[in-house]
Amino acid sequence: MHRKSDTLAYYVMILPGLFLLVAFTFVPLFYSVIAFQKFNPARGIQNSPWVGFDNFLFLFRIQDAREVFANTLFIAIGKIGLLLIVAVVFALLLNEVRFAGPKRLIQTMVYLPHFLSWVILAGILRTLLAREGLLNDALALFGLKPIAFLGQPATFPWVIIFSDIWKEFGFEAIIYLAALTSIDPTLYEVAELDGASRLQKMLYVSLPGIAPTIVLVASLSIGNVLNANFDQIVNLYSPIVYSTGDVLDTYAYRVGLIQGQYSIGTTVGLLKTVVSLILIGVSYWVADRFANYRIF
């Protein structure tokens, strides 16, 4: 039975959260209408002229937008793909470690970077990757010429991808480790009786065992192909690497807030939101279809 006073209590409980949700998510959504305006801050939303889809057409026309879109896809997909491979391989290897102490030690070490901010890590990376930095010193030991890792378009996106893997592979592996522990031990015993080598067990028992999890993670990642990680890039890039390192979020921030082209910045954000929405829809559908997983 359900009492009326109970229902009232639930409403009271959810009210503050709902209020904040409206205030900080739905109200900004309303402000997104300036994507359809030639917004003049002095006139405000009410009095700025409406321009229909002009801002969108402008973005489709300029080279910047194409470049930024391509960079975003490249970096995000590179991260998703490589991170998945590295994390799976790491989880499989860690699963082979029989010694409890070392195993815990390894885990303790690799999870740590996940909890550090990109501000801190970017500060560290900038020192590490400078011309006089430790990494170039190491290259010099092998007789290699110094590389301006953060200062040339060719290397920059790879620095972004690999530093992200460095930060996240341990953490990402947790879900695969969890999946590995739930594999039925008798499967290994059977394989052993059949004379399977260790590598064979890894490839034919462990890997298939976590395949559903891999499919799940991969499909949920679809929603992220327009997220290249603002915090990371904004703290590592500079004008010289815009051609390969500028992504949708950094572009929207720079054009919209720094240069004060509110309408263009908002249009970029709105485009990203719409495309992301579609991708998330796709990803949940894929997750449901192929991994039998529903989040809500």
Binding site: N40, P41, A42, R43, G44, N47, F58, I62, Q63, D64, R126, A130, R131, P146, A148, L150, G151, Q152, P153, A154, S238, P239, I240, Y242, S243, V255, L257, Q259, G260, Q261, I264
Partner: protein, 568 residues
């Protein structure tokens, strides 16, 4: 011949130094001419006889109005940047309460309050925000774009009736010396909507500052050309000028902004100028057409040179990811002996270098271009405006405040200047941190100081501000670098400014250009394209021929249309 248009550029004709009675005199007009205009010598305004007397030679009615106190106290709300430097103010004074502000309030019988005070960097953001929320103060300083937006929105008071009526003679003269460009910039649809500033033109030409102690130690001579500069950078890198036995000295420093006019610290502008290239300027070429400096063929020669220097390791290998502060640390920390910058960098950051190492004997030098001339990119005369909110009842008060501020700056009209470090803090003291300067005031003051040192004029005739500086100069001459502040003033005001006073040719942006590009939606991406291309070519990430690709892209992405519009 690619530099033929330059022949039209006229070298500043230096007027014989007037035996100036003091600064009350309007500047010795230094007729600077842009590349196309025929050399025109502005009529020198007559110099008043006495320092202390307000310039009464002109119309007295104007003088009265320009300083008249209000019968009843009026209020004025303002906003301000500069908060991060408040600690530079003398003990017991603040941005909201200081002697200069008090003097202005007392003189005009007004009560000034600040709605907010923020750090310099945040001012533009904060102001945009205030504008968008409709909470603008009675008066404020705005950019050309904001001026346009505010006028469109109809929230400003028309200042046409007040600007020329209430401005004192010095302000009018200073505007006049811009050949009308300043007031023209403030005029939209035939009405004056803002009071325009006038920037000292000395900030644009970049000099090469070199540690003379290192030069002497290595037995080298002062640089005069880009070739000399390159040789010097090489020597400083390879010959251990700091004598610590380690190859830890830099050649040339740079920043991620290799070109910016004016006041580009660690900028490469001067190297471009040497090749007859004037990047970032929309100027009129020999045929009278507006062209964009960054896409001209001369750029390619300069870029080739910079790239060669970079490949040879003579330019800081990480310059493209460094900003001004980062590169300053190289010279301040004693790791570099060359810094390119405007005339005033002895006040900052080189004073810090002297604080760290009293032997650091930085001296300024001008570089000649490939034709043996001194030719530099010049900045705009005007880049900001004071505007008044629509409906404010005493719009003229901003002009009156600017009159007094100008007097305090230069010790005119007996306006007291109380502060020894005035040059560092003037923008904190003044309610409207905004100067309407004589465009060539820096050069003129250098001539005055030199004349006083030569005994041709008595320093007693100088105003307060100049007397303080003159003392600093003399102290440093007696005991060089014993006090970094004195040294900085001497280097900037005398050594560096005298170089400029020696004359140079100017290449100046077409004054109408800003109206076009500031509202062009393609402009930010054109700018980005340009910044990237320059950095990529200098660092060799792209070959030199990429410049042609860039020019083509620039033209196709709206640059050609922009130029076409300007040339109509």
């Amino acid at each position: 011949m690619k530099k033929s248009w330059l022949l039209k550029a006229t070298v500043i004709t230096l007027m014989a130094t007037f035996i100036l009675s003091a600064c009350a005199a309007p500047a010795t007009p230094t007729p600077a001419v842009s590349a196309t205009e025929p050399p025109a010598v502005t009529e020198p305004t007559q110099a008043p006889a006495a320092t202390s007397a307000p310039a009464q030679a002109g119309a007295e009615w104007r003088m009265t109005d320009a300083y008249a106190a209000y019968p009843e106290k009026i209020t004025l709300t303002l906003v301000k940047g500069g908060q991060e430097n408040a600690s530079l103010l003398p003990e017991g004074e603040s941005i909201e309460a200081n002697r200069a502000l008090q003097y202005i309030e007392d003189t005009l019988n007004i009560d000034i309050t600040f709605e907010w005070v923020v750090p310099t960097d945040s001012y533009a953001d904060k102001l945009n925000l205030a504008i968008s929320s409709g909470e603008i103060p009675d008066a404020m300083i705005v950019t050309p774009i904001q001026l346009q937006q505010l006028v469109e929105a109809g929230v400003l008071e028309d200042l046409t009736p007040y600007v020329e009526k209430y401005a004192n003679k010095d302000l009018l003269e200073n505007w006049n010396q811009t050949k009308g460009v300043a007031l023209q910039a403030a005029t939209i649809d035939g009405k004056i909507w803002g009071v325009p500033n006038v920037q000292p033109q000395a900030d644009a030409p970049l000099m090469v500052w070199v540690r003379k102690d290192w030069l002497d130690k290595l037995g080298l001579s002062a640089p005069e050309t880009v070739d000399d500069l390159e040789a010097l950078a090489k020597a400083f890198m390879e010959q251990d000028p700091d004598g610590d036995g380690a190859a830890d000295t830099y050649g040339l420093t740079g920043t991620l902004q290799p070109v910016m006019v004016p006041s580009n610290l660690h900028g490469f502008d001067v190297i471009f100028n040497a090749y007859g290239a004037f990047p970032t300027l929309f100027y009129r070429d020999a045929s009278g057409q507006v062209v964009y400096g960054s896409t001209q063929p001369q750029m390619k020669d300069a870029l080739a040179r910079l790239n060669a220097m970079y490949q040879a390791g003579l330019i800081d290998p990480d310059f493209a990811t460094k900003n001004t502060d980062t590169s300053n640390q190289i010279v301040v920390g004693g790791e570099g002996g060359i810094m390119i910058g405007p005339w005033w960098i002895s006040w900052w950051p080189l004073n810090d270098s002297v604080k760290n190492d009293p032997n650091a004997d930085w001296q300024p030098y001008l570089l000649k271009d490939n034709n043996g001339q001194f030719t530099y990119s010049m900045g705009d005369y005007t880049n900001s405006f004071v505007v008044v909110k629509k409906g404010y009842v005493h719009p003229e008060v901003v002009v009156k405040i600017l009159n007094i501020q100008n007097d305090i700056s230069y010790g005119f009209n007996d306006a007291p200047q109380y502060y020894p470090n005035f040059n560092e803090i003037w923008n904190l003291l003044f309610p409207v941190p905004f100067l309407i300067e004589q465009p060539y005031v820096v050069e003129r003051m250098a001539r005055d100081y030199q004349a006083a040192l030569d005994g041709q004029v008595s320093p007693d005739t100088f105003g307060d501000a100049m007397q303080i500086e003159y003392e600093q100069i003399q102290k440093d001459m007696a005991d060089p670098r014993s006090d970094p502040a004195n040294w900085a003033t001497r280097m900037a005001r005398l050594n560096a400014a005298s170089l400029l006073a020696g004359g140079y040719s100017e290449v100046r942006a077409d004054p109408a250009a800003v109206r076009f590009y500031s509202v062009d939606p393609n402009w930010p991406s054109l700018k980005k394209m340009e910044e990237e291309a320059l950095l990529l070519i200098i660092t060799g990430a792209q070959p030199l021929d990429y410049f042609d690709t860039f020019v083509q892209q620039w033209n196709e992405s709206g640059g050609a249309d922009l130029l076409a519009a300007m040339n109509q």
